[in-house]
Symmetry: C2
Subunit: 340 residues, 2 copies
């Protein structure tokens, strides 16, 4: 019996998740929910520019749940706990399990203790499991780090870097990372909150620290402009020398004076023109040291779509509650259906 | 409340596990069982050449359980299912959870279906969880591979290599890997079964395949001598040019004609003299490809001790049954106790 899945939100991530679910033997896409009126009542496959699939796009989540009777809903609409909380409430109330790719939901206990408590009680009361996940936070700079510490007798400190290429992304990403701004505009954007860098360091750092039993005394985040020495172009942005090619976002966790976790995430367009090699790098200093690299980096879009999809069976089968990637078995690539 | 742990077997691995448990805030070593008569009734710390710890070595497992009331026993005495089965029976009968580092127990369902069924029913009947784990099988060439596939939309095939250095090991390891033999003696040792190579490919390959929903039609194992071009020496063995410096063990899983999993584990002394770089390498071919390396490799001894220790909380808290690393949350380095 395949798990019945409803996808809420058909943006880039939600569409990718819907398409991926369609291809999986153990999953069945039963519908989607979108606020884009042009998609209403269309076949989900057609709505996302793929082939007809046989289930439709709803405008209303409660109607969608009633009609499609899903085991789980994937919420791919927001990044922040406060935005996604009302959506979680509605879905959970109907006894439907939830995976959300809202970055802050990957480990919300420290950044949002009250909301976490509310979500956990709703989950328990309605007998559903709720997980926040994605490639990062949720996998590269937290779950993978924690997993590798499992082979250590002791860990003193952790450094990790995720160096990626923003070139394929659209305007919104360029704006939130400050790509194409002058250094002055970048500083201003940070102050105004229009340039945000990466969302998830608070979550990843706390997830690692809690897994290791580390009581952090301070977390700091630094966002620096990556000033380009060269000309860099994508279809949506043009960076001249001296302008900003991206945002180097750094998150640090301290125990007293000691920096025990440092996560670095420089995101820019065309890193290769200045000989920056993209990749995921994890350095664990302890007994033994572990130095891991993945080159190139696990791609962000596909990675998030994959992790969210591949966790579905674990979340449906889990005991009720607000869960994290630390509570569940590891994901594995679900088998691609062989079409008859 | 710390978990109460009994260690059965104080060889190199069992001693290391006992010492590691002593240092962990969340664990309490309550005793050990050894057949070496010289250790009987000694303090476990003293018996393993460390400082006094405050619990003792028993000669009899049932007496040890009765006196120490452990939550879990770590069985570090054997490699094979048939050897460890009677030990598992005794411990489980007394309602004590079990972790064993017996390689074949990491995923025994295909190689030992009957024994697996017996062990699972004993576990369920007595309300205990039983896990086989270690660095390999149990972590590098299976759990880590599966975890990385979790970030893939689809996987076509997997290649992985664990290239390590046997130089620190003793006589037994040299003998079972054929180090210091002539090529003729190596072939003879393979035939006689005195040279075995790595134990665990059957388990790792099945674990990966089951996680991915792959129905394998064939598994093959190949053991080749690593013929040395140079002179290589350790305190226990001397290899002249033309002699065997180690065993290159290869495991392959097929679906029909297609080789979908290839695990390669060349184990030799002093690989550096012939410019072989040790490391753990995982290549996943799919969508996306993932190329991971850990250099140098996660050390085998420390890794096994760490993984076995770090899984203790997960095993004690798990639902009853015969479990694998695929069923449980990932391990994380347990916090080292700060001594007053």
């Amino acid at each position: 019996m395949a798990y019945r899945v409803l996808v809420w939100g058909l943006g880039a991530m939600g569409s990718g998740i819907a398409k991926n679910i369609m291809e999986k033997e153990d999953l069945r896409l039963v519908g989607a929910v979108e606020r884009n009126t042009e998609m209403f009542d269309k076949d989900v496959g057609i709505a996302i520019g793929d082939k007809e699939y046989g289930c439709k796009v709803y405008s209303d989540i409660e109607l969608a749940i009633e009609k499609t009777e899903p085991d789980i809903a994937i919420i791919a609409t927001n990044s922040f706990v406060k935005e996604v909380l009302p959506k979680i409430k509605i879905v959970a109330k109907h006894h439907v399990n939830i995976i959300t790719i809202a970055e802050e939901m990957a480990y919300p206990f420290h950044s949002h203790p009250e909301e976490s408590e509310i979500i956990n009680s709703i989950a328990v009361k309605n007998g559903v499991s709720i997980l926040g996940t994605g490639i990062n936070p949720g996998f590269v700079l937290d779950l993978l780090i924690v997993t590798l510490t499992g082979a250590c007798l002791n860990v003193e400190r952790i450094e990790a870097r995720r160096v990626n290429d923003l070139s394929p992304f659209g305007k919104t990403v360029m704006e939130t990372q400050g790509v194409g701004t002058t250094p002055e505009e970048f500083e201003e954007g940070l102050k105004k909150g229009t340039i945000v860098g990466h969302i998830g360091f608070q979550q990843s750092i706390r997830m690692i620290a809690d897994a290791l039993g580390w009581e952090l005394t301070k977390i700091e985040e630094i966002r620096e402009p990556i000033i380009s020495n060269t000309e860099r172009k994508t279809p949506v942005v043009h960076v001249k020398p001296g302008m900003v090619a991206g945002c180097r976002h750094i998150g640090r966790g301290y125990m007293g004076d000691k920096k025990v976790i440092e996560l670095v995430h420089p995101q820019q367009i065309h890193p290769e023109v200045e000989n920056v090699e993209t990749g995921d790098y994890i350095d664990i200093y302890g007994d033994p040291d572990i130095h891991m690299s993945i080159k190139p980096e696990i791609p962000g879009g596909k990675g998030t779509i994959a992790v969210a999809t591949n966790m579905i069976p674990h979340v449906v089968e889990a005991d009720p509650g607000l869960l994290t990637m630390l509570d569940l078995p590891v994901p594995s690539a679900l088998f691609k259906e062989i079409k008859g």
